[in-house]
Symmetry: C2
Subunit: 150 residues, 2 copies
DNA sequence: GTTGAAAAGTATTCGCA
DNA sequence: TGCGAATACTTTTCAAC
């Protein structure tokens, strides 16, 4: 994991379809040397996977909601985590420090889908309390730091 | 944007390096038909870009923090948004409903980097108050819903 | 680790249904 | 829109450094 690997990752983050020759030209390596580095970055788990970034609007997931959840004292925390890991509406689920137990990032087609989701959590006995906020607009949204090009 | 497009997007989301032939076999189309659909999905902005998913641990971004920020009444909101859009530590910045003005998702190398970041916001006159929580563990983290394979 | 060239595999184009 | 064949690239492999 040296400076060159970082550059390669940044370039792939911006456009994972750039050819090895292109990337090589940018970082000063031959295509096969870049290939070997990318292979290792995948093998060591630095690169988790190649994927695609999608317009939420187009996918009918226009409503972005953050929910802070306080677990009930008698809640089965493992069951809660498993439920969150499976739930289609849950994009992110983090165990957090502070007043709340978990922070959830959720996406829905319409605002009306939010209440049933929270009702479900309550009904399942997971949740003692929650506070939700709706994203009115998004200034920025990316998945990793990309400081210092090349 | 029909069912087939959705399937293609889900498949690319799981592995953007799958060949057009593979994807075609999965959705019942020829490679060139898949290619044409992917091209259109990009042209219409449904697919924003091909990218790479990275291990935060490996990138020295182990510390995940969420900060809820209340803007000062006299704050220049546009300047704040521009600052957030540029700041390397800011992964996400959403204008939210409720008690707070903005929700930030931040990543740092070490916990000690958090305080300077908040100090910076305060010093710049953007922030009236904030509440931060640190992610102790992450149950799930993905960027779009992927319900219903094929 | 890196290179350069050969081999294998893919994307892309285009005429046609 | 989708297909299949031809073309142009790209990735991948490998012997050598």
């Amino acid at each position: 994991m040296d400076r060159t690997d970082r550059s390669i990752i940044n370039l792939l983050g911006a456009d994972a379809r750039r050819s090895l020759a292109d990337i090589g030209a940018a970082v000063g390596l031959s295509p096969s040397a870049v290939n070997e580095r990318v292979r290792k970055l995948q093998a060591t788990g630095v690169i988790r996977r190649f994927t695609v970034e999608v317009s939420h609007r187009a996918l009918d997931e226009s409503v972005l909601v953050f929910a802070q959840v306080l677990l009930a004292p008698e809640a089965d925390e493992d069951a809660f985590r498993r439920a969150m890991a499976r739930h289609p509406d849950v994009l992110e689920c983090h165990h957090v420090s502070g007043r709340w137990s978990y922070l959830l990032k959720l996406r829905f087609a319409v605002l009306g889908d939010v209440e049933p989701f929270l009702g479900e959590l309550k009904r399942d006995g997971h949740m003692a309390a929650s506070e939700t906020s709706i994203a009115l607009s998004t200034v920025r949204e990316r998945s990793f730091r990309d400081d210092g090009g090349l």
